[in-house]
Amino acid sequence: MAILLNQYYLQIAVFVMVNAILGVSIYLTLSTGQLSLGNAGFMSIGAYTCAILTVKAGLPVYLAIPLGGVAASFISIIIGFPALRLTGIYLAIATLGFGEVVRVIVLNLKITNGALGISGIPTLGTKIGKILSSFGMSKFGGFSAQQVSTLLVLVILLLVLAFLIFFCIRLNRSRVGRAFAAIKADESAAEAMGINTTYYKLLAFALGALIAGIAGGLSAHLTFFIGPKDFAYHRTVEILLYAVLGGSDLVIGPIVGALILTLLPEVLRSASNYRLMIYGALLVTMMAFRPQGLISEETVRYWKGKLGRGSKQ
């Protein structure tokens, strides 16, 4: 058990969680059929807001992370109004451009420390470690304090993710979720049915940005350093790939995508130079052979039917 819980595995598990949260963020915008390529930009707004609030203003972490998300979502509403009048390809480009603008601004502002980035961000692990040691607990069974605090971080992230999944599943069964699905299926038809498409598209966009911002804030407080390079175009492509590989019909799709694509580079360390090449080839192959992603509604129905029959026999 203690071997399984070594720092390396725990760290990877933590990254899986953050990436899965990012997967949920792109799932939410895709659930209205909108492709937003600005998730890395929103993540960067969240991460920087959060890091500046904790490092420079001394705000506690549990306040700063949601505030980062709110900031990202606020900005998404401002740019969403003009951008969401656009459909499909236009929106993708506008949001891609938005991500670039954010990167250039972050690179030039004084408060974000330009290309050097912000370092010395208090990590969640050390914070929890301090709280634990203030209770006088430095060892638990065979585990060191560091292991326990990382484990607790993992539990917190797991709770956040579980809440998001729960939220998405509930959302799908609500009026809002049905409106999202209607817009995805056919926007003009949805509008003719009396759905305020602009409102719902903006809502999905802002929700996606909120979650991306929170993920950004979390990642800032996990790695202790953020720089403008962390949120460039490649990050966007990576997030997109979670949804493309896993599938974007169901919320579990991008999460599975994030899991696979975070673990794969660790397993294939020796091929790390070719990671992006593999990603690129993967995008092309998925689009050609399985555009709906690994997990679609049919897949779930198929396995449910198969397993259901299996248990009856």
């Binding site: 003009p82 480009i93 506008a94 090449m277 690129g280 995008l283 689009m287 050609a288 555009p291």
Partner: protein, 292 residues
């Protein structure tokens, strides 16, 4: 100062126009955005650079070589990444995502093949200068202006007057009808992609000459600017792409000259967001999405 900046802006802008023309051609015929165009441009620049550096060929031969190599690359992309998607009905986002895949594949390939550092052309050309009244123009700038404007006008004429040009325009108008009229649309699509990529390759050499730097990441930034021009000029609009490129080039040069030099890369997208606010169909586009 003003006139000098204007010339610099025009030179930069004409390369943007050339890149944007590639996007526009593919957009017009296939109705997709080729996100890998920037990377094809970058590969073209590298091919040109290696031809000049190692085979010691003339710069114009290098441009022709770059054009050929990029056109081949474009055809390869058409076959592997785009054609399979046309055979079945997929979401309109699928080709976009597929070409994003091609783009990061090519960028990473270039990083592995050529290394991350920026490489320069042998510099005899950049030092030759002419004085014309208040402005100073380098030989490189003259080559860039000549080649890009020349190519643009040849393209315009070719599309308007020749048989193949008409076939391309017909396919752009409506692919099914073009098929019914006996045009081999698959071949036309192939040709368009090759043409667009070839133009991108030439632009790559020109940009590599003007900045005297060729690096794997140049594709991404140039690709994004080409996209900006595409939106600025209106999708699938050739005149729009030409003028839009010039406008963007001049706007960028003036931003650098009169103040905010570090925000240069934000100009393009600041403009996009503004345009999308005011005139989503682009400066020169019609509401219904004008073609050629």
């Amino acid at each position: 100062m003003f006139w000098q900046q204007l010339v610099n802006g025009l030179t930069l802008g004409s390369t943007y126009s050339l890149v944007a023309l590639g996007y526009t051609l593919i957009m017009g015929v296939l109705n997709i955005i080729n996100m890998a165009h920037g990377e094809i441009f970058m590969i073209g620049a590298f091919v040109g650079l290696y031809l000049v550096t190692y085979l010691k060929v003339n710069i114009f031969v290098a441009m022709a070589g770059a054009m050929l190599a990029s056109a081949l690359l474009g055809c390869l992309m058409e076959m592997l990444a785009l054609r399979p998607l046309r055979r079945r009905a997929v979401s309109h986002l699928a080709p976009l995502i597929s070409t994003i895949g091609v783009s990061i594949f090519l960028e990473s390939l270039a990083l592995n093949l050529f290394g991350p550092q920026s490489q320069a052309f042998p510099t005899e050309l950049a030092t030759v200068q002419f004085e014309l009244g208040p402005i100073r123009i380098t030989l490189v700038q003259i080559i860039i202006l000549g080649i890009s404007f020349g190519l643009m006008f040849i393209l315009r004429f070719w599309l308007a007057k020749t048989r193949v040009g008409k076939a391309i325009r017909t396919t752009a108008e409506n692919i099914e009808t073009a098929n019914l009229l006996g045009i081999n649309t698959n071949r036309i699509i192939f040709l368009t992609v090759a043409l667009a990529s070839g133009l991108g390759g030439v632009a790559g050499v020109l940009v590599g000459l003007s900045f005297n730097a060729v690096e794997p990441t140049m594709g991404l930034s140039m690709g994004l600017k080409g996209l900006a021009v595409l939106i600025l000029g209106g999708m699938g609009n050739i005149t729009g792409a030409m003028l839009g490129g010039l406008i963007l080039g001049i706007a960028e040069v003036f931003t650098v000259a009169y103040g905010a030099s570090s925000y240069r890369d934000a100009v393009a997208f600041g403009m996009i967001i503004l345009i999308l606010f005011i005139r989503p169909q682009g400066l020169f586009g019609k509401r219904q999405g004008g073609r050629f």
